[in-house]
């Protein structure tokens, strides 16, 4: 889920220009905190792009340019009350043939494992269960009259029917439970499910599959008493070993080479980040409280997806090829000194730098003492200087953007709450993660000069203004107010200079995003 979260943030900064994405999230734990966070994020993303009940088409050169259609499927087991086990699911009774067969394949502990929080690293069981559950769900929906086929899974598959140039990217870890179980079987599920419709259409031969081989990158502590009691519990001590075994499988299995045209190796060879979280002295195996912070490997996974979507199609003569990719970054002792180019491919490095940093800068503007996190105040403020150009936007229209930006970077209510980008920095365990270290100093973020977040001098606000270049002797070093002053001057200038372009955008939400995009790019010298 967190890989998808990173992907949504990349769509928000504009890394998926002119693309329409159908995003299917499958989880075995419907209460999972990370899944809820993803749900919230996507609903805000779509709300930002929606005006008068219509989501805008995909655009280019701006923020929130990709059109996202979201489909979510929670496995049946996760939604049942009480203890659900493999034995319950398969109807295995003692003394039956089914029980004898189950004993051959699964240990007693696995057969009695509570499945409400997923497969807990038991991928041999998980792959079996997830494949059949998804197939059963499609069959169930297809048996209904077409107007009643409202299941998200079926809607997703229907979108795929007849598509000749679709790309399907599957992301999830290979060392855990649900993701590791699902990754190898999803292409097979999609291909098989397409044949279940009343008028079956095999998936087009030009549709390509890609995926991540995301190996171990985090850990958590396991309580021994809990381990003894629950018998099977995900133990991060085995994540490295799980990854190794999985990679051997992904390397050797011919079905994988056949089903996936591209796979991206992603790993974290330095200190695994500790995601340990306890509730009432118990290691969390899932549920609402499992809301782990984001990690750079997830961002790399999201970029792998973008690379896959942007690739030229495989030539007819090379059809059936299978390629694995990896990427390395500059490692210094126990941390990575990441550059923007380490995430994006060579041609999109500046694009990533510009779009991530400019939106990050705007998040600082919003949360600084200038507006204290209230975007409606920002709107009122700028409206006064530009003839109320955005007066048709209500507080309700812009609230999703405000909430999105708070999750994107950070928010401050009673205390500082890190967002996605701050979580990435913390998980990277490196102060100057892509930006200046002081940009991540939570004690100063309300007041510091957010015009200087980039490491490169040419990307810092110059504060050079006509005549005002004469600095008055009592003016102190620039702070948040100087950054806003510079921004607002440029915002108003952009209104004047780009009026024709802005007027052509009929959706005022899209218009203000474009206005912000142009202004922030000018401010950070990305013109």
């Amino acid at each position: 889920m967190r890989c998808l979260e990173s992907f949504i943030h990349l769509c928000a900064i504009g890394m998926m220009d002119e693309k329409e994405v159908h995003l299917l999230a499958i989880d075995t734990d419907h209460q999972n905190g990370n899944l809820n966070r993803l749900d919230q994020l996507i609903s805000r993303y779509i709300a930002i792009r929606t005006y008068e009940r219509e989501q805008a088409p995909a655009r280019k050169d701006g923020y929130f340019t990709a059109r996202i259609n979201y489909y979510k499927y929670n496995t049946e087991l996760s939604q049942k009350e009480g203890l659900i086990t493999l034995s319950d699911k398969a109807g295995i009774r003692p003394g039956t043939v089914e029980k004898e067969l189950a004993d051959l394949l699964f240990s007693e502990d696995v057969q009695r494992l509570d499945l409400t929080h997923g497969y807990r690293g038991q991928t041999h069981m998980g792959s079996l269960l997830i494949y059949h559950e998804l197939i059963d769900e499609v069959k169930k929906q297809i048996d209904l009259p077409p107007k009643d086929q409202v299941g998200k899974l079926v809607r997703f598959l229907k979108e795929l029917r007849g598509e000749t140039d679709a790309r399907i990217f599957i992301t999830g870890s290979i060392f855990g439970g649900t993701g590791a179980s699902s990754l190898p079987v999803i292409p097979k599920f999609i291909k098989d499910a397409m044949m279940l419709f009343e008028d079956p259409q095999p998936i087009d031969k030009d549709v390509e599959f890609g995926g991540t081989l995301l190996s171990s990158y985090f850990r958590f502590n396991v309580d021994d008493t809990q381990k003894k009691r629950e018998k099977i519990i995900a133990d991060s001590a085995f994540f490295g070993l799980n990854s190794q075994t999985a990679l051997i499988y992904y390397h050797d299995d011919p079905a994988i080479s056949k089903n996936f045209q591209y796979l991206y190796h992603i790993g974290w060879p330095i200190n695994a980040t500790n995601f340990h979280k306890e509730e009432a002295g118990k290691t969390l195996t899932g549920g609402m409280a499992q809301e782990n912070p984001s990690h750079p490997t997830e961002l790399l996974s999201a970029f792998a997806a973008i690379n896959f979507f942007e690739r030229p199609s495989i030539a007819t003569e090379a059809r059936g090829s299978h390629t694995k990719y990896y990427r390395s970054a500059n490692r210094i002792d126990q941390y990575f000194d990441f550059t923007f180019g380490d995430f994006s491919d060579g041609t999109r490095e500046t694009l990533f730098e510009a779009r991530l940093g400019t939106l990050f800068g705007f998040a600082f503007l919003l949360n600084s003492n200038s507006f204290k996190g209230d975007l409606s105040h920002f709107l009122s403020n700028v409206n006064e200087s530009i003839d109320g150009y955005y007066s048709s936007l209500s507080e309700r229209d812009i609230k999703p953007l405000e909430d999105f930006l708070k999750r994107f970077a950070f928010s401050i209510s009673d205390s500082f709450v890190p967002g996605w980008l701050f979580e990435l920095q913390k998980s990277a365990q490196y102060d100057a993660f892509l930006f200046e270290a002081f940009a991540f100093d939570s004690s100063k973020i309300k007041t510091f000069n957010w015009g200087s977040i980039y490491k490169s001098e040419e990307r810092k606000f110059s504060f050079q203004r006509p005549v005002k270049g004469i600095k008055l002797p009592w003016r102190k070093s620039p702070d948040y107010s100087d950054a806003f002053d510079h921004f607002k001057d440029l915002f108003v200038k952009t209104y004047k200079d780009e009026r024709a372009l802005l007027d052509r955008i009929t959706n005022p939400k899209e218009r203000i995003l474009k206005h912000l995009y142009i202004t922030l790019h000018k401010a950070y010298n990305f013109e």
């Binding site: 105040h377 009122s380 403020n381 005002k468 004469i470 008055l472 107010s481 806003f484 001057d489 209104y495």
Partner: protein, 142 residues
Amino acid sequence: MGKTVWSIIFGSGSFQMDKTNEIDAFAPGLWALAGVASAISLLVAFLLVSNVKNEGGASPKEHVKRRRIFVAIGIIALIILALFTSFVVPSYIKPLGPLLSRYGSINFQSLGLFLFIYYVGGLGSSLLGKGKWATLTRKKTI
């Protein structure tokens, strides 16, 4: 420089004006001083006004601050000019009486000229201008 206001300012002359035509000849210099003073005041006001930053918040009041600065600079400059023209310059006029009365009306004209150039010129340029200077006459900055 002769018997002009510039001789007084730059201290290059110790002279006395005791004839009406000398007072009349002094007038253009005084008007020029008013013009120069208003130009300098406008420049100072422009620098100070432009250095008042755009404020955050839903209803920013930086334009009020700028207007106060503009008015205050005009008043302060007027007082300084008036102190000079009303107390320093008369010490060069002898005998006082009719000459001083004639000088008084010239002085009054020069102060009026200062006010006219500073306020009408300042507000006029604000109306036609853009940026922070424009907020002296309107809230929007374009």
